[in-house]
Amino acid sequence: MNWFRNKDTLYGFLVILPSLVLLGIFVYGFIFQTFYTSLTDWGRDPAQALSANPQIRFIGLENYRELFTGFVDARFRQDLVNTFFFTVFFILGCLSLGLGLAIVLDRSPKGEGFFRTIFLFPMSLSFIVTGTIWRWMLQPQGGVNQLPTLVGLPRGEFAWLTSREQIWQVSWNDLPFITALVVSAVLVFIAIAAFRGGERRRGYIASGSAALLLLWALTLGRSLQPLPFDELHGFNLAFIGIILAAVWQMSGYTMALYLAGLRGIPEELREAARVDGASEWQLYQRIIFPLLAPITLSAMIILGHISLKIFDLIFAMAGADNAPTDVPALLMYLTTFRANQIAKGAAIGMILLLLVAAVIVPYLYSQLKSEVRR
């Protein structure tokens, strides 16, 4: 026990141990078990699916193969596309509205506290409550669609949550290619930034991998066809309503983050800029926005992982069955508990975890690293 500096550190370890064991089981143990389940055939045989002691067989990555290239799982692929668009617009909406409101409130208008309270209150509500409210707001012939009639205009006709219209369609077969292009574009961008900043090693690595990826995309990537036919996926317009409700609920959060950031900028800095003759716009562009960049990044990541996990809002707003507004988190629930395809549900859960981890792990890493440095 000489690992521990003294008896008190040992006590400390013993106090935290139960929590560590619990989290070890509930987080890592269960993730591992889900992963194992996702490699089995649990649920394919109806006799075993709901049996008290199911007999299940190991089938490798078959469930994953089906999800990405199987004929029947088109819904999962559309759900991935849905999540992508939802995440993008949800983050954009929250950031721009949140920043706008924070800037206005930062200028201390009359009744600032009142407005802040109003903009933030949806954060305290359950997604279920928000969903219930907005479900009513977005009834096809009522709510929002009736608003124009209040000022004498004709009623809106948009079928908010049930519209089957889809725009920006791409074939699933083109996705590997497009993804490779986008990722290499980002890498090139990083490389340029690195060279400018004088970090040559970083620059070489980034530009090298960009070149490799491009090479792959233009040769092998073009001929890679996950599906034997073209399957079109795009942005479901039915999601506009969901995005609206989600922004209503969460933009207060970004506002609070930005407001805290703005209040943290010393007044002298602004004064100095004004003395130097900077216009109000230049002040924001040159001084304030760059200072807010780390907050934007944090907010993007927090919002991003919320949007990847979004479940209750859609459940309450459109119901679990409304395919145009489906997402993987919801499909996992349906696949497991309604279609009894437990192993496939586990596979969807794992894919969701990978998506979230891709966002969160680098973030946690950088946050804690910078903290140690500090």
């Binding site: 521990f4 008896k7 006590y11 305290s124 509500l125 359950s126 409550v129 209750d312 993987p328």
Partner: protein
């Protein structure tokens, strides 16, 4: 001058955006079921009809009680554990704490769908299937990362000299906690308790999968079922939504400052 006008115009439009749904909820909840039509959605009720609240109250009272029971116990337990853990991680860093902490934090970001199936089996195996206690256990465990994080950051502000002084006075690990750290923790507890209260009260996924028998249902599940069913009459879901929202809303209105602190702590550094 123009800046001022634009500023207040923005505030006005934003206020409208945030408050219109509230107006609609209240107005709908106060209408007679037969008076609720899509075309008169936005009009004030002609007769003020309080019956919906009475009905929602009788239907939801047991569920509200479930939610209170669950939320209060799970919040207090996770706050206590979080405080002790935070104390350890801030002041008694054992070997390997630097690795353990991020591993703990990851637990608060995972999509719970990735643990749902084994979790479900586990709760059944230990005999808590379908009970509120099972749900409490789950909320306490998955609440640990955030409560630990908030307390750890909070205790980091307590100067090490104070701990040293305690040691010189002969106090040990527990003595320092109970005599020095705990008495200073009240604001930390307020933040954590408010945060956990809101989170657990509002939670849905665990509630709908782990506790589905109506006798043990928390309010969110009951509301989702009421509104998601064949709700042709919207007065009841709206009154129900108000009831379900009230506790967290009150907390927010009266303790908003602490609520915002919990919010900001959620983005890791705080």
């Amino acid at each position: 001058m123009i800046g001022r006008v634009v500023q207040y115009a923005v505030l006005f439009v934003a206020t409208l955006f945030f408050l219109l749904p509230v107006y609609l909820v209240i107005v709908t909840a106060l209408k007679e079921p037969s008076a609720i039509t899509l075309s008169s959605t936005w009009q004030l009720p002609q007769v003020w009809y309080w019956e919906s609240f009475v009905q929602a109250w009788t239907a939801f009272l047991p569920k509200l009680q479930n939610s209170f029971f669950l939320t209060v116990i799970a919040t207090l337990l996770s706050a206590m554990l979080g405080s002790l853990n935070g104390y350890v991680l801030a002041k008694w860093r054992f070997p390997g704490a630097n690795i353990v902490f991020p591993l703990m934090l990851f637990g608060m970001f995972i999509p719970y769908q990735a643990v749902l199936i084994p979790l479900f089996q586990f709760i059944r195996e230990i005999g808590l299937g379908g009970t509120l206690w099972g749900l409490i256990l789950v909320h306490v465990v998955y609440g640990l990362p955030i409560t630990t994080l908030i307390f750890r950051n909070y205790y980091a502000e307590i100067p090490d000299e104070m701990i040293e002084a305690g040691r010189i006075d002969g106090a040990g690990f527990f003595g320092i906690y109970s005599r020095i750290v705990f008495p200073l923790s009240v604001p930390g507890f307020v933040v954590v308790i408010i945060w956990q209260f809101t989170q657990i009260w509002n939670e849905f996924l665990f509630a709908v999968t782990l506790v589905s028998s109506p006798a043990n249902q928390p309010i969110t599940v009951a509301l989702a079922q009421l509104a998601g069913g064949e709700a042709v009459k919207w007065n009841l879901p709206m009154a129900g939504a108000l009831l379900a929202a009230l506790p967290t809303l009150l907390v927010y209105i009266f303790l908003g400052r602490y609520f915002i602190r919990g919010l900001l702590a959620g983005s890791v550094k705080g």
